[in-house]
């Protein structure tokens, strides 16, 4: 069980590494949001599941599962809110060349 959880945690970290490469590679907001909203959530959820497997059936796992639920809801939600607000308030997502709008 220890080994399985370690492998799952490392897989999650590798997922997040892909997200980091995407962040470094693309400069525009729309592409970044497209990449990171999926990959980062998947990586975080995988790491949390690995930690939950590590502790078996206990109160620790219960709290970890609560945290998992919150992450699963909150993380895509924040991305949705940021992107939608950017679109509604006039940020041009189609011709996005990484412009500075401050």
């Amino acid at each position: 069980m220890e080994l399985t959880s370690n492998i799952i945690i490392i897989i999650g970290t590798v997922f997040m590494l892909f997200g980091a490469i995407g962040i470094l590679k693309f400069r525009s907001f729309s592409l970044r949001v497209l990449i990171i909203s999926k990959i980062d959530t998947v990586g975080a959820v995988t790491v949390v599941i690995g930690v939950a497997l590590r502790h078996g059936i206990s109160f620790f796992t219960l709290r970890v599962l609560l945290l998992l639920g919150i992450l699963l809801v909150v993380n895509p939600m924040v991305t949705h809110i940021i992107t939608r607000t950017a679109h509604v308030s006039g940020y041009n997502l189609e011709e996005d060349r990484g412009q500075d709008d401050t």
Binding site: V48, I70, V74, V78, G90, Q99
Partner: protein
Amino acid sequence: MQYILWPMLAFLLLYIGMAVRGPSMWDRMLGMNLASTKVILIILMVASLQDMGFLLDYAIIYALSGFIGTLFITMFWGTRKRREKEKRDGTDQ
């Protein structure tokens, strides 16, 4: 398994760099959110390594307060940009 903390720290550094450097404000907000997720994972790993369940309450608090703060910053900046846009288009009542 404590070496898993170091890649998390590297990601945290990267996303804080994104929040500081990112060209538009929306990039900064995104980087802020991602950095807070990484911090949650760091807390989770620390709690798991020390086998202390009550430290996870702190991770949950961190997630929720980061959510509220990000929501409010987004609302503020979006409202301002929207108002400017409506003034520009002449559709503001």
